[in-house]
């Protein structure tokens, strides 16, 4: 019990201690690169909570959600088609593997060349880049559905809709979710990249513009906000995953304990 309390104090105390150290050490800083944390937080509040909340923060998040949402639905749907239609798989699989090898961020210049610097470009880049992880994971998940479950579905004469949504989808759920998680990270990266590459709006654009004009505290505030968004997005995803896949997590835990 005592030991456990110590671990808790260590776990919660270290981040607090690090932040406090940063605050104290940077307080007198005159370095162009490392402004005082106090100033950074002031700028954070002024920039993100007031001046640019609607014009940039909400815009970035909307692009992220829209692109990621489209990619998730399309990725799962395409994954089903590729896994269940052999011809589609043979035609599309090598193409998909090649496209997957391209770093997602390298797709951004191509989209810029095709549709300019607008919001459509950013949403399209996010969607296409985060499509692949979800799609590939879905294909793998569906192909590894237990043949026993498929037999059950046939013997009890499930309809195609029942097979799709009540057998294949939940059975492939664990793999689909790990694909969705990678897709979310890719979407976040491409969101930032698409804004940094010549856009004038969005959190990424504001951060890189601040860097280019040596407004270091503003740049730090941008990095801080992006970090918090990256962490929060992953946290929310994990909470949803734990809810939806409670059966899977529970059964794995039980199997490991045995």
């Amino acid at each position: 019990m005592n030991r456990k309390a110590l671990h808790w104090i260590l776990g919660a105390g270290t981040p607090v201690l690090l932040l406090a150290l940063w605050w104290i050490a940077s307080e007198q800083s005159t370095s162009a690169f490392f402004p005082p944390l106090r100033v950074i937080l002031e700028r954070f509040q002024a920039l993100w909570l007031f001046e640019h909340f609607q014009s940039d923060v909400l815009l970035s998040l909307r692009n992220l959600l829209l692109g990621y949402g489209v990619a998730s639905v399309a990725g799962i749907a395409l994954g089903f088609v590729i896994a269940l239609v052999p011809v589609a798989r043979q035609i599309l699989e090598p193409l998909i593997h090649f496209l997957r090898g391209i770093p997602p961020v390298a797709l951004v210049p191509i989209f810029i060349s095709l549709i300019g610097f607008g919001i459509e470009m950013r949403v399209a880049s996010i969607a296409l880049a985060s499509l692949f992880p979800t799609m590939i994971a879905t294909v793998d998940g569906i192909r590894s559905v237990d043949p026993g479950l498929k037999d059950v579905a046939r013997v009890y004469r499930f309809t195609t809709t029942e097979k799709t949504f009540r057998v294949y989808l939940p059975a492939a759920g664990p793999q689909i979710f790990s694909g969705l998680q990678v897709g979310l990270q890719v979407a976040f990266i491409v969101m930032i990249a698409s804004e940094m590459l010549g856009s004038s709006q969005g959190i990424g654009a504001m951060t890189i513009l601040a860097q280019q004009s040596f407004m270091t505290a503003d740049m730090w505030a941008g990095i801080l906000l992006l970090g918090v968004i990256g962490f929060a997005a992953n946290l929310i995803f994990d909470l949803i995953r734990r809810r939806v896949l409670a059966w899977y997590i529970g059964s794995r835990k039980l199997a490991r304990a045995a």
Binding site: D146, G148, L149, D151, V152, R154, V155, Y156, R157, F158, T159, E162, R166, V167, P170, A171, G173, W247, Y248, G250, S251, L254, A255
Partner: protein, 294 residues
């Protein structure tokens, strides 16, 4: 294990599945008294053969099988392991097409999963949906039958009561022991109210006591629902205990060695039936058929 069934279901004279529409069944009320061989054949397997591959690489699993199962009869299929019993069941369930010959229900050839049939698989842990609770596993196959909520609940309740799992209905299959999972699989088949129930080594991986309970459950289902039951097993004692007739298969490829009529009383009991001299005689008969060099 509790074995209380609702009184409405306990009359063997009632039609096997009163609530199910069935265009194919000619006799709407099966004969109440069942004597092996005299009742009309429900399931008819005639010169069934199954092989995989073609040409030189063809591998014949089943050579030539002929037998029938009458309405309300329990037939066991025994044979050495690896003889192709599961393949046979998959042909009967319409999961695999036969290479030649045919299997038919009431004269209609099986070429897809028949609506009046349910199958209990060998691997219980691979046949239940791990993401559904026990009750939802039972409900899933019933969805497209468009039953009333009342009927749905009644069917699940009585099926769970029949296998003694009322208390486990909101648990997940992976939280249950192997024997309990197999009982869930049986309950799922019961809730479906099939007229023909096929079971593939259903009690192979449960402990001895549960096995006895499940065997008695099987006999009770036949009695209460007048179900036609086909059980594949490699356990000869089990086959003799359960069956009205035992189909003995020889390997390889699978063919019928003999069909043995079991002359035991209809009401059976794990202790007294197994102690009968007749039981010993018939199990020896079946065993010697299997042990005999081909």
């Amino acid at each position: 294990m509790k074995t209380s069934l609702p009184p409405t279901r306990s009359n063997s004279a009632a039609p096997a599945a009163p609530s199910r529409k069935n265009a194919m069944t000619e006799e709407q009320t099966p004969a109440p008294a069942v004597v092996a061989g005299t009742a009309p054949a429900r399931l008819d397997v005639s010169h069934l053969a199954k092989s995989y591959g073609t040409g030189d690489k063809a591998k014949t699993i089943i050579e030539d099988l002929t037998f029938t199962v009458a309405v309300g009869e329990v037939v066991c299929i025994v044979g050495p392991s690896g003889v192709g019993k599961t393949t046979l069941l998959k042909c009967l369930a319409g999961l695999h097409p036969a290479t030649s010959g045919r299997a038919s229900i009431d004269g209609r050839v099986i070429n897809g999963p028949p609506p009046e049939m349910a199958l209990v698989f060998q691997d219980y842990n691979r046949s239940l949906m791990p993401w559904l609770t026990v009750r939802k596993n039972l409900v899933l196959p019933l969805r497209h039958l468009h039953l009333s909520a009342q009927e749905l609940k009644e069917r699940c309740d009585s099926a769970l009561a029949a296998v003694g799992l009322e208390h486990a209905e909101s648990q997940y299959p992976w939280q249950l022991s192997g024997g309990m999972q197999q009982r869930v699989a049986i309950a799922r088949a019961l809730a479906y109210r099939p007229e023909i129930l096929i079971m593939d080594e259903p009690f192979a991986s449960v402990d001895a006591q549960t096995r006895f309970d499940l065997e008695d459950l099987c006999l009770k289902i036949r009695r209460d629902f007048n179900m036609t039951i086909l059980v594949v097993t490699h356990d000869i004692d089990e086959a003799v205990y359960l069956a009205d007739r035992v189909v003995v298969l020889g390997s390889k490829p699978a063919r019928v060695l003999r069909i043995v009529d079991i002359e035991l009383p209809t009401v059976r009991d794990q202790i007294s039936t197994r102690a009968l001299p007749e039981f010993a005689r018939q199990r020896t008969e079946v065993l010697s058929l299997i042990k005999r060099p081909a």
